[in-house]
């Protein structure tokens, strides 16, 4: 090959080695832009200007002002139908193989494809990862003698393989037999990607079921379904009932989305119902919120209906009736303590808070929507009509407001709502 081509190849190789050295030192995945390599002794002092190269190049496409197109990025240009889905991604990957029989630049292509996966929505698809691993040429990177296995054989390719597996790990995709066979064909049994696969198989299976409150991977898109899932997730009582107080208006209705017509879904268990029925009408109950609940990556805001703690003197003491038959006792205490010296109680008073009567998830966080929820609750809890309801709605932060002493002065909206509360109370008293 001509000396001009030799210079270009040398520059490319030196840039590549610089990349490997830096990544080996820092241990980070290969960076997007290759660093400026220290120029060799034989290169001239002038910088390599692409305009003055000896090899004629095709006219470059107009560059975007922010960043330059990476190599092979034109393969990922949106297709004729413009949709970014799995089919187009697969087609782009397959085009690469046709573009270049010798698969030159496959490492850069794989890194680019890993970055593009999120746009195309295929980051959790195992078949796509297997297809990407298929881009590697087989049998070339396997160590064949002891010197290959002592020194890291084809380090850049091994790092690329590890990067593919690391992205799988980040998205929680479990590799399968096909992945294992592919890695075996490409890198051999003693390579780092293979080691990482073994580790993934071990630790993923160990940690698969450690979540005591599992949330399904595919969350429902419908807000009412999501709300009922969230409420069931929060409420430990299995006999609680989820009621939809208001369905959202369908999107294709002629009038615009009315803020008071969003969905309202509530949950209440029978115990909470009876507690509310027994609640003293002289004490107000509070609607607090909104608080945030995260389900995987979706945030749902909920409100609660709760009362303050009764002061100790007003708390009713439960009377334990005398046992009338020792063979069939009414109270059976099957605690841990086997003898009088067993004490598994912590020497601290736990935080006590007032009882919660109901929880709801609503589309809007304003008082009008929540008032509708209260009205809906009144159907199952007639006692609610006589109890004053105070709305304590905070801003967008998910902190619980202090009930008795507020550290910071309350912001204006709750004060405005306090006036409305008195009106509400009068209304409640009249109804």
């Amino acid at each position: 090959m001509s000396w001009a081509q030799a210079i270009l190849l040398a520059r490319g190789l030196s840039r590549g080695w610089g990349g490997i050295c830096s990544t080996a030192l820092t241990g980070a995945p290969f960076s997007q832009v290759p660093p400026q390599a220290p120029r060799g002794l034989h290169c001239s002092a002038a910088t390599h200007n692409p305009d003055s190269s000896l090899v004629p190049r095709p006219p470059e496409p107009p560059r975007r002002p922010v960043k330059a197109l990476a190599v092979h990025e034109e393969l990922f240009r949106p297709a004729l139908d413009g949709a970014r889905n799995k089919a187009n991604f697969v087609r782009a990957v397959q085009n690469f193989a046709e573009y270049n029989v010798h698969k030159r630049g496959h490492v850069d292509f794989i890194y680019l494809a890993l970055r593009k996966m999120r746009e195309y929505g295929v980051e959790r698809d195992l078949s796509v990862y297997n297809l990407l691993l298929d881009v590697f040429p087989k049998e070339v990177f396997r160590p064949r003698n002891i010197f290959h296995s002592i020194f890291l054989h084809y380090p850049r390719q091994q790092e690329c393989g590890i990067a593919v597996l690391e992205q799988m790990e980040n998205h929680g995709v479990m590799p399968n037999k096909e992945t294992e066979f592919l890695l075996l064909q490409i890198f051999g049994r003693k390579s780092y990607p293979m080691l990482k696969l073994v580790r993934m198989k071990l630790w993923f299976t160990r940690f698969k079921n450690i979540n005591p409150f599992p949330v399904p991977r595919d969350l429902p898109q419908d807000p009412v379904d999501l709300a009922s899932l969230a409420l069931r997730h929060m409420e430990p009582d299995l006999s609680a009932r989820v009621t939809t107080y208001q369905m959202p208006l369908p999107k294709d209705s002629p009038d615009a989305m009315d803020p008071t017509e969003t969905h309202i879904v509530g949950i209440q268990s029978p115990e909470q119902q009876s507690a509310l029925a027994r609640h003293d009408p002289a004490r107000p109950i509070f609607v607090e919120g909104p608080f945030s609940l995260w389900l995987r990556d979706k945030c749902v805001y909920y409100h609660i209906l709760r009362a303050d703690l009764l002061p100790p003197e007003e708390r009713e003491v439960e009377e334990i009736p005398e046992e009338w038959n020792l063979y069939y006792p009414m109270q059976l205490d099957l605690a841990y303590g086997r003898s009088s010296w067993d004490d598994y109680e912590f020497n601290i008073d736990e935080v006590e808070e007032g009882p919660v009567f109901a929880i709801c998830v609503a589309g809007a966080h304003d008082q009008a929507t929540l008032a509708k929820w209260i009205q809906g609750l009144q159907e199952t809890n007639p006692a609610l009509a006589r109890i004053p309801v105070v709305f304590r709605l905070s801003g967008s932060s998910g902190e619980l407001l202090a009930s008795s002493d507020l550290e910071e002065p309350p912001p204006p909206p709750p004060e405005g709502q306090e006036e409305e509360d008195t009106q509400q109370r009068q209304q409640q008293g009249q109804s």
Binding site: L293, W294, D342, Y344, N347, S397, E399, L400
Partner: protein, 328 residues
Amino acid sequence: MALVHKLLNGTCILRKCPKPRVASCPFWGTRFADYCSSSFQKPVAAPGKASSQRKTKGSLEERHQREVALEITSPEDKPEISFDKAIKEEMKDHFRRLKDDIVKYWIGPEGRPLHEVLMEQAKVVWQFRSKEDLDKWTVTSDKAIGGRSEVFLKMGKNNQSALLYGTLSSEAPQDGESGRSGYCAMVSKIPRGPFEMKRSYDWSQFNTLYLRVRGDGRPWMVNIREDTDIIQRKDQMYSYFMFTRGGPYWQEVKIPFSKFFFSNQGRIRDAQYQLLLDKISSIGFTLADKVDGPFFLEIDFIGVFTDPAHTEEFAYENSPELNPRLFK
């Protein structure tokens, strides 16, 4: 601290030396490292007094006063006097703590009678009932490496719990070497004895960690660090996951110590060992679940107890495929 700054420059036999010297003599106890290296650092200005190693309170104070007079040359009147006073106060405080420590040692471990400590089955280690309890914790976020997450710690409702809240942002910092980012952590400070000596917790008779928390549904990671005097142990920790339920109800989280897996420098290691409970130095909570957005965690108290139904010693076996050397 004013005293620490003073003593780092000057000499004090009772003070522990900074780490590099400890690392240089690994075979000796850290106390010996103190003595051998500090002897070379005596100030030239007061050789006579410094050579006599009298440990009485008065002489040490005099020596420090003289050092103060010799070392401070800039004319700043008012702050100087209070600086002196601050040093004196701290010295008195440290000596008081030393005296309490010696007295407590005669009563029993940590100042409680031995029978009480041995028969204890549930112990509250950290509680959040006042602002002083919050001072025992440090909060960090990925702002340290240039990220955008924020985290704050404050007392919660009615001063009855601690609220850790903030925003997580997984935007990677543009420093050319980090590919991912987005973490927030709350770590407890290492317990210190008199003269800032590092102490550790001894939980060898307990086998489960108990947390009473109220979260927002995000998964947290609980990390326990063992005694960090040896420099190789700086990045080692034992971790496990804590899944919060979310919702308005308080949640009790019980994690047996046998479930903690070993990790070094942030990566799970192939060789897994049991968490040994006799020298625990700190515990921490980390949130790094790659989801951007606000989060909060309310903690009531953290305790340890013995779960008699839990008999497992260690949950993770070593595999011969990953670690052939262990199985030879």
